[in-house]
Amino acid sequence: MSPAEFGQGTLFTAPDPEAARAQFRSKSRKLADKLTTVREAVHRLIKDGDYIAVGGFGSNRIPTAVLHEIVRQGRKGLGLSGHTATHDFQILAAGDCLDRCDVAYVVGLEARGLSRIARRAFESGRVQAVEWTNAALAWRYRAAAMGIPFIPARVMLGTDTGTRSAAKLIACPFTGLPLAALPALYPDVGMIHVHRADIHGNCQIDGIEVSDRDMARAARRLIITCERLVPAEEIRREPHRTVIPHFCVDAVCEVPYGSYPGNMAGEYFSDEEHLREWLEAQADDAAFSAFLDRYLYGPEDFQAYVALIGQERLLKLRRLELLIRTGGVPRGV
């Protein structure tokens, strides 16, 4: 494959580190109080047309509250980094929020099946796709987090994925090896759900980080939702536990069950029944519209959505996550 054939896709975000440096310079390093509501954070920090990146892994540790709010506030023309975008993607597809997507993994919910509305977003031509891979997007975040315009990698080579990407084929100056140069990806807005944060935005995550350490550093603006707000002193007791430092963060929102219906390590397992409802409702447009009214547009905020789900079900998911067997149907409180 010649360099000209490789990387014919559109580059949705500029990899220029100089513009990004100016942006990062402008952010304050103050230990300010950034606590706010999800509504206010989305209102203030996400504009129509922005390019966004979602933390976690599709149905695990996802910032569901922010995604619902984006749909409720009717954001349009967003770009998305589709780094294992599963339930997060279908929420945005339900709101018809997107018009372009760097695709690594979209439209599927892993073994659960394909999302009809997500498929339709692409098949209708409404969302423009450029192809990448999960590692490529992860490493593109890393390049941005490092402040370099590209990082080389040995993936996408020889494939149509490479042809339809916006990477470039280069030769290694030391070894002559052909390499894919992956352009830095600086999202306009990142959104990440974490286990614990202080009001300044210092964050701890239990379990896998997926790509959130690098994505948090790559994002020009960053919204954090957390299961639990903790005193700043708790962060300072174990500073090696901090995954995201406060000066990357623009807004902190306390959202218990914030990854629901996704999994949250040590807190609650994914609600497979509700995810199945999401997929099945899409078979019929009217039914799906009613479904969205009930679960997404109806509740005035995420807490109302969670209340609709009910504590009994949430406790069941907690027991499932913690592998606590209750000898039959889990009982309510």
């Binding site: 695990n60 040995r154 993936v155």
Partner: protein, 255 residues
Amino acid sequence: MGYNSMELMVAVAARFLEDGRSVVVGTGAPCAAAMLAQRTGAPDLLIMFEAGGFGPILPTMPISVGDSRTYHRGFLAGSMADVMDFCQQGAVDYTFLGGAQVDMYGNLNSTVIGPWDRPKVRLPGSGGANDLASLCWRTLMITQQDRRRFVPAVDFLTTPGYLTGPGAREAAGLPRGTGPYKVITDLCVIGFDQASCRMRVEAVHPGVSRADVEAATGFELLWAPELAETEPPTPEELRVLREEVDPGRYIIGRS
């Protein structure tokens, strides 16, 4: 002892995984194969999941490759880049992949059916598949075999097999010595001919004929000179699979 086709595929796949080696798996059959291998010949098989889980003691089958089961009592809960870095570095021996279409060189399509810019069906895309097939030493597939899937040419080359044949991976810059290793289908076990990099049937499952395999394949297959019959799952493999690996029968089913 009776067994079904999925049980056979999982048992056969497990036998290819050597002890003391590492494998990146997804959910489903590959995960079941790796778990079975750990409980039979390969207790020190290191299981990894692409979202960042290393070496879990799996309490149940994961539902997502990023759910909390994938690092339950693991020795490392890291990042996706951790996993991919190790793959690129050469520390990962096996991976399991699948796709909507595969050609005779083991190239996979999981991106679109139809033309890319006006797809009949938009599929998920590479996910980590292109990465894993590019970087891990040996790629295995567990798949149903039929002409819709085993095609002369994939609609979109998402994930590299041997590309256009001998030398093509290296010429493209992919790491030397990597590539498809085995394809375990419901009909047979397929390897790759060293000279041509094409699929070559090594064994057919009990009761399956050469004609059955050819009828299910949209391209010309090579055949090993001494074609074997697949060793069926042993009673011990079936016991472990049914009682320990997948007691809920999510993967292996109830039949």
